[in-house]
Amino acid sequence: MSDTPTKETAPKLTQAAIVRAKAPKTAFKPADVSPSRRQRSYSIRLWSVRNARFLEGFYKRFAGLFLTLHPFWNWIGYGRAERPVTFVERQVKGLMFDCRMCGQCVLSSTGMSCPMNCPKQLRNGPCGGVRANGNCEVEPDMPCVWVQAWAGSQRMRDNEAILKVQKPVDQSLRETSSWLRVTAQAAAEREASKEEAA
């Protein structure tokens, strides 16, 4: 196991912690929390997991709507639609899931808990370091993203999706809209099947 318990794994004072401890209370403390924690809050994220079943149904209808809008996207051009849609997607999903804009959303397979919030960015399940109280090993005050994901997935209709092995993240898709890509792919598939039938 790489997780050999060693004296060396004792929580050591990081540079950030030393700066924090030495500075007076009123001073500017840039390193008050770890970088990943600094970018996140998780009250709404936890609500989303609790309501995973509702969001699953909602997203299904929403994706359907986006697909019916395919002629419209085509008319303005997917390339031109990209920026405004990405902006809206970032705001909405950022608020609801603390979305990190990986551009290849797997929320439906992870119980509506965004796996990119995991400090190790695991996309296939929890690591071995989950604390007994269900919190993260790296961020002791954060509920483990994957403990949440498992709970959320069990509330969903498609509770088997979490068992599918996910491919590694394609970093070149970062900061792009996964809504538009999913729509474009679905439209292409629909056309291909139509051609086959014809």
């Binding site: 997780d3 050999t4 071995g128 996910q166």
Partner: protein
């Protein structure tokens, strides 16, 4: 003249066998149905190869595989590829650990090829601890792949002979793929399913986190058996001696993912010699887990107590008289050594001519 020069073919890989994916001894031992023993080498903080050789020598003849850890606990040590290179030179069967924390997919795939070329037959795919746990918390955490996609990548390199990009390999790596399991951390319901996922991704053997709670492990194994996973993958239970009750307490509160029940700590506290009792607890746990259906071996992790591994294995009797691989002299080595000694004798030209003439 060093005796090491006359060892029988230590560096040659074994002949391929049908149904085997690697040419290593660990896979053969497991597929023969023997109870396997693996252990972990404490990586040195030095550039001296003898540090690795000395640390490996104490396991010789007691284990079927030696894990070369990849910066365990995010602490910097000699690299696992380097350790494996040294171990394969001596003929040991190393298990190369790859943690996703430090390398991206480009570096990892290169390492897999390099390691396989050096004769590494076993690769263990891990996610790795977060950088905050180690001695250099300011490092950039990479985590480009996770253990599951790493397994998938290594398997497709071996079975399809292709990189992740689809580019072809001229010779695919022949490796036996491993992964880690931790039945002792939440979400408990998901843990057996996660093992199933790892098997689907390519895991052929798994080593578990330290097991101190046998009933909990038995419960996990029951669910594993219900899903038939013990027939698709070799399961090695992780065990190890605790040095003292104080260490146990410290591990329990500081190392996430290791579950130590109160009973173990009170048993340690009640003992006269805590170190000895820790070893005895480890032996008792081995004796309990080896009876669990579906357990194919043990992984003995004795961090900084490596000298106990041989005793633990011997006293628990898990090998049932079997002697795992150890270095031995080639059949005619003695005659070669004699001859070398004769040659090494300084002779004057006159003496040589005398010997040839008479």
């Amino acid at each position: 003249m060093s005796i090491d020069r006359f060892l029988s073919d230590v560096e040659r890989p074994l002949a391929p066998l049908p149904g085997h994916f690697s040419r290593g001894r660990l896979e053969r031992v497991l597929r023969r149905g023997e109870f396997a023993v693996t252990t972990e080498l404490n990586p040195p903080d030095s550039a001296n190869p003898n540090d690795v050789y000395d640390r490996a020598a104490i396991f010789e003849g007691w284990v079927d595989g030696i894990n070369a850890v990849d910066a365990s606990g995010a602490n910097c040590h000699m690299s696992s590829v380097g350790i494996c290179a040294l171990l394969t030179r001596m003929g040991y069967a190393p298990i190369l650990q790859i943690a996703c924390r430090d390398k991206n997919r480009i570096a990892i795939q290169g390492d897999i090829l390099g390691a396989a070329a050096m004769g590494v037959a076993n690769i263990m795919c891990l996610t790795g601890d977060g950088v905050q746990a180690g001695d250099q918390p300011g490092a950039k955490p990479v985590f480009d792949l996770d253990c599951m996609s790493l397994l998938n990548t290594a398997r497709s390199m071996r079975d399809n002979g292709k990189f992740l990009s689809g580019r072809k390999l001229t010779t695919p790596p022949e490796v036996f793929l491993g992964a880690a399991i931790n039945p002792f951390a939440p979400p408990y319901d998901f843990r057996p399913l996660r093992l199933k996922k790892k098997i689907e991704a390519g895991a052929q053997f798994v080593q578990s986190q330290y097991c101190f709670d046998v009933p909990m492990f038995a419960e996990y194994m029951k669910r594993v058996r219900d899903m038939g996973l013990h027939e698709q993958c070799f399961i090695l239970c992780g065990v190890g001696p605790l040095a003292s009750a104080k260490t146990a307490r410290w591990i329990r509160s500081n190392v996430p993912g290791i579950h130590i029940p109160d009973a173990i700590i009170s048993r340690l506290e009640g003992a006269q010699d805590q170190k000895k009792e820790g070893k005895q607890i480890c032996i008792d746990i081995i004796n309990e887990v080896k009876e669990i259906d579906g357990v194919h071996g043990v992984h003995v992790m004795a961090y900084r107590q490596e000298e106990y591994v041989a005793e633990i294995v011997a006293e628990s009797g898990v090998l049932k008289g079997r002697k795992p691989w150890h270095r031995e002299l080639a059949p005619d080595a003695e005659r070669i050594i004699e001859r070398h000694e004769a040659v090494d004798k300084p002779l004057t030209p006159q003496q040589i001519i005398d010997e040839v003439v008479h």
